[in-house]
Assembly symmetry: C2
Homo-oligomer: 422 residues x 2
Amino acid sequence: MKKIKVAIMGLGTVGGGTYEVLTRNRDVIASGYGVDAEVVKVLDRSEDVLVSRGVPAEKFAGNIDEIIKDDDISVVVETMGGLEPAGTFIIKALKSGKSVVTANKELLAKRFDELEEAAKEGGAGLYFEASCVGGVPVIRTLTDSMQANRITEIMGIINGTTNYILTKMSEDGLTYAAALKEAQKLGYAEFDPTADVEGFDAAYKLSILASLAFHTRIPLSGIYREGISKVTPKDIAVGRSMGYTLKLLAIGRKNADGSAEARVHPAFVPESHPLSSVRGAFNAVFLKGDFVDEIMLYGRGAGAHPTASAIVSDIIYCADREEPLRLDFKNGEASLADDFSSEYYLSLTVADKPGILASITKVFGDCGISIGKMQQQVSAAGQAEIIILTHTTKESAVRTATERLESLGGVKKLNTTLRVIK
Amino acid sequence: MKKIKVAIMGLGTVGGGTYEVLTRNRDVIASGYGVDAEVVKVLDRSEDVLVSRGVPAEKFAGNIDEIIKDDDISVVVETMGGLEPAGTFIIKALKSGKSVVTANKELLAKRFDELEEAAKEGGAGLYFEASCVGGVPVIRTLTDSMQANRITEIMGIINGTTNYILTKMSEDGLTYAAALKEAQKLGYAEFDPTADVEGFDAAYKLSILASLAFHTRIPLSGIYREGISKVTPKDIAVGRSMGYTLKLLAIGRKNADGSAEARVHPAFVPESHPLSSVRGAFNAVFLKGDFVDEIMLYGRGAGAHPTASAIVSDIIYCADREEPLRLDFKNGEASLADDFSSEYYLSLTVADKPGILASITKVFGDCGISIGKMQQQVSAAGQAEIIILTHTTKESAVRTATERLESLGGVKKLNTTLRVIK
């Protein structure tokens, strides 16, 4: 039996869940995996929180140094969130030779090199399965199950808040504002929902996952990001009538020329696609490797218990390893593609007069975009709504086309441009 | 850089794929994971096979002892299949201290204890991610990602042959015989398809997976097994009209009283269930833990490359571990439940005369089975077909009811009894 002593920094939702798992299932873990993990110190700004979680007083740490100086502690769990003081505390722990298990995606996405440097200096390990997609083992699958593969694509629904909102809009016809309100009431969305709804959270996770998948650093600044706050129930309804479900997707690709692309944006997914049936707060990720082909992982992307499950699995994983796992993206920063390809959905409001369709299709033709499907509907007196689905084309071509359309006589409004997944 | 020398026994489909992966992606593995895995010996009954796979002559092993005696070899891959000589060769390798990576589900399901004993004796490790669900990391998820959880359920589609056949029957209306023939033509089914279509293959995998999930041995003999060879296009069509898809499911449960249940049988799955959209040769497995809730893993369940991907991931995993992973089901053999609960679908042909429905529903009532839905259709002169969907009930109650129904006046034939998943 391996005995390890653990400290937890931050006893909020996830930290509290971790304390609960390690307490309640300590016997399962010990008998099943030969690792007896004991929480010996817990640090939180508020002693009331510690008391309410049932932590005995002798385990309260007054400050970070009490943890650092305790040589018995080999693993420190960081569940404080935010950049600081979490960053400073993690670096202290790593430099002192303690391995760190964290769920802090923002910190990892913004300061990974600095953390990894500290880990190397201290001969410690840095583990972060819990940072992406809750209890779903997407990082372990990348690092421990797909090693034989060149990974060429990662695509998924990796933010539960936005998936909940889009599911509500799609299935119950709610507006964005009403669905957001419901998500906030249920605790799925924050009071300030920006990080989730504008795609920042998904971009943090994509930066981490794509960097691991492609063995090359995908910086946040290289990720194209578009949120869901402008999505309308009407676009969702039109998409549904054409057999599509709207999802906020995170997509990373390693192209044949060695360049990478990474983007977070809403996209229409065909109803027959497995991602289409990922509903509510659930998440799912597709990984494509040259030998294994496609793998999909599905589960709860957030929540105290699923995330705590991932943290505890990292603690045991870390105890089992001969040497710390080094994920230092050896190949440096990725060369990022400045364009990408997709199918597109466009919705325009136009004057209902002869010749307008011809001039619109001419713009597409001039930009080298091939139209797959087009439908027109009179929407009000003298106005018509046109929906266009393109074949696969370049994003840059669509941007040129939409600019021209906006200044085209007879086009009253370019309502929506959305990408479509095959 | 860790350098390890590998031998492969059996260069058929999967062994050949493994040789190909280790040759073609050796650089990816070395630069990404710091493990340089070199195949130094290959054993096969036929030298022609080795030549056709491009194995250089100096790597041909004349017999198993050439591999055992080579102290440089630390990992032996077994991809011969079958019980013997694979079993003897694996035991020799393990006893000599070489870790073994195998895809041999039948051998693992039938002789696991013996193999694990040899592994302990030799201080070696036994790894078998490739034995279940091809390249999908279901074993790694159980052992390395869900350690914090008491796993209470495993449910999945873990045989690609039968899923291909059922998909063809369901989507193209083929008979079982025609769908099987097509599967054979495509290489998805063997000339003698018994192991797949009668559920033996799924039972081997369920024995392995449920034993790992529940930390207790689920012997083959304890698994209820029913294949798909009696499934008719008509049942599939009726199920579809009621919103169900027919799948061959493997189900393992750990009950609250500590008993376990394990079964392989066809079952109706609601169309909204993620397993319903797992089509063709794809596989998917649900795992349920007390903290992580549900995880689903999806991907190709067989094939040379996906399976080879899992084998190579085991080779690297094994090279990374401080001590061999011991999966010896410490808690001994499971106490198996002698009954289980499900919803049921029954189809009966009856004489179309007054009172027959009343006498049928009385049988169900007498057996304590509550009927959820019932539909009747005149099928031929003087005959009617009755479809019954029950609420959750005991398997034993349904068996009693069907026995009584078969001898009930007016019942011409009990066509089908199928379980239904919620």
